[in-house]
């Protein structure tokens, strides 16, 4: 694959209720990324955003974000999935050979809309939506139970993921304050109240307000902009069936196939030893284990055995992951940004020493129906 470089990024601080305008937040992120890279509005050649019309409460919502996102009189388009999918669209625009700088931004403000209600609009209106038994909450319970039943994984092993990520989030100044829990214990997670059994409240990536932006440039241009570009050396994406009743929820085949595609492009044959850090969009604690296994870091059912601490064998979500804050449409994009920070040595308190190769994932749909994975490498 022709090299495309990530040459800048910016993420706003995550808040449960940011209490400032969505547009100010978008501007802060997209302008922040430009400023950080020493670029100007005139340098932008394409802008790809990720928002969701239901989350924004308006149709074709990107027509209102043109000015704040940097898209005024520029090539501009939108992806209505996860921010990580917008990165793919931006990457393709750059690979077309027509663009020297792509701004990719994504995010939303769930403090302004009823998150779970809006997610019900993902369900089939001709069959299951009217009864609302299938929703993002119950699907989390089905997925965790399927994984535990199939492999005999314990609830404590899954709670440990939440403990690790919330502790990591305490080191990440941009994480959601309510998720920065340096002293959290497994017992606290198990006692945190029923969400959808066996999922408890603290195993859930908390929806919150936030926007992030990323800059992409072709190889030559990237090297002119920065001496620390991060290269996208592989990408893979895959989609599972829609109905939960058609799928095997104990694993995540679409993540497995996405990883195969990305590893193949990047020439990775032994992911566990080759990859230094993984930033994965885990909507729930158990998904981090399922994904780690599908990415080939451990055998099926053995994800909990990986030493995935910041200074462990293979750091997973050193930033705190989505459990450190889950701003819809930005979460996967933030995973890419966090992986970039690790490769450029800008991760501060949660820096993985000597990280050279990273993966970052995004997802959309119930029980991670669609997954996308990037392989990123330091210059």
């Amino acid at each position: 694959m022709q090299k495309v470089g990530i040459v800048g990024y910016y993420q706003v601080k995550l808040y449960s209720d940011a209490n400032y305008g969505h547009y100010e937040m978008i501007f802060e992120a997209s302008r922040g990324a430009l400023d950080k890279a020493g670029l100007k509005k005139k340098d932008i050649s394409t802008v790809i955003s990720c928002t969701n019309d239901y989350y924004d409460g308006r149709t074709i919502s990107n027509c209102f974000t043109v000015e704040v996102g940097g898209g005024y009189m520029a090539d501009e388009s939108k992806v209505e999935m996860d921010g990580a999918h917008a990165v793919l669209y931006g990457l393709m625009r750059v690979l077309s050979g027509n663009h020297n700088l792509a701004v990719v931004w994504g995010g939303s403000m769930p403090s302004c809309y009823p998150y779970h209600t809006v997610r019900l609009y993902e369900t089939d209106p001709t069959w299951e939506r009217s009864l609302a038994y299938v929703n993002d909450i119950t699907s989390a319970g089905f997925q965790m139970r399927a994984y535990m039943e199939k492999y005999g994984v314990t609830v404590e092993e899954i709670a440990k993921v939440a403990v690790k990520n919330k502790k990591n989030a305490a080191k990440n100044p941009l994480a959601l304050k309510e998720a920065q829990l340096a002293n959290l214990t497994v017992k606290d997670v198990l006692d945190s109240g029923k969400y959808a059994d066996p999922v408890t409240e603290l195993m859930v990536a908390p929806p919150c307000d936030g926007v992030a932006a990323l800059l992409l440039a072709p190889e030559k241009q990237a090297l002119k902009i920065t001496d620390k570009p991060v290269w996208i050396t592989g990408v893979g994406y895959n989609q599972d069936a829609y109905y939960l009743g058609d799928r095997d929820l104990s694993g995540c085949k679409s993540m497995n196939l996405a990883a195969k595609m990305a590893y193949n492009a990047a020439g990775i044959t032994d992911p566990y030893s080759e990859i230094d850090v993984a930033e994965l969009f885990e909507s729930y604690a158990h998904e981090e284990l399922i994904f780690a296994e599908e990415l080939g870091f451990a055998d099926k059912g053995k994800g909990a055995e990986i030493n995935s601490a910041i200074n462990g064998d293979l750091a997973i979500n050193p930033s705190g992951g989505a459990l450190g804050g889950n701003p819809p449409c930005a979460t996967g994009l933030i995973r890419v940004i966090e992986a970039v920070k690790q490769l450029t040595g800008e991760a501060g308190q949660y820096q993985v020493k000597g990280a050279k190769k990273a993966v970052a994932s995004g997802q959309i749909g119930m029980c991670a129906q669609n997954n996308i994975l990037y392989v990123l490498e330091a210059n």
Partner: protein, 153 residues
């Protein structure tokens, strides 16, 4: 940012009542429900039996003909998965109330699961692999609510 909410949004509510066309396959299925019968359809290529029925088998990428491959199924099935939650998610809000148990049930003779309430069962008694049967609503309307839920056989 600040403690006090300073931005007051105009609610800007719009009413747009959609009327979704369920299609000929679900129409047949709902006719069945109205008569308290479950009908699935079978992929001519892989043989998977779908409940609810489908026009297209996604795996094989083939059309299942409308007039063929219908399978009459019993009102019994197996619990494949379940969860208990205090949350209710409907078109107005998500709120917490009493726990209810939602199951994924594979109707006997089918290869897919449907998602309904498990009735008259304590969550701790529910096990994967348990046999259950449909409890129908007394008066049926030809829509998903005709199945009230599933009870232990």
């Amino acid at each position: 940012m600040s403690e006090e909410k300073v931005i007051v949004a105009n609610k800007g509510l719009i009413r747009a009542d959609f009327a979704f066309w369920v299609g000929q396959y679900l129409d047949k299925f709902y006719n069945g429900l109205e008569n308290k019968k479950i009908r699935g359809n079978k992929c001519p290529k892989c043989g998977d039996v779908f409940v609810p029925p489908r026009k297209i088998c996604g795996k094989c990428n083939v059309v299942i003909p409308l007039e063929e491959n219908w399978v009459d199924l019993p009102e019994t099935g197996t619990i494949m998965n379940f969860t208990t939650t205090p949350y209710r998610v409907n078109d107005r809000s998500s709120r917490k109330t009493k726990d209810w148990t939602i199951g994924m049930i594979q109707i006997d003779g089918s290869n897919t699961s449907i998602i309904y309430r498990l009735l008259n069962m304590e969550p701790e008694d529910v096990k994967i692999g348990m046999k259950v049967k449909i409890e129908w609503n007394e008066s049926t309307k030809g829509d998903p609510s005709d199945i009230k839920g599933f009870t232990k056989v």
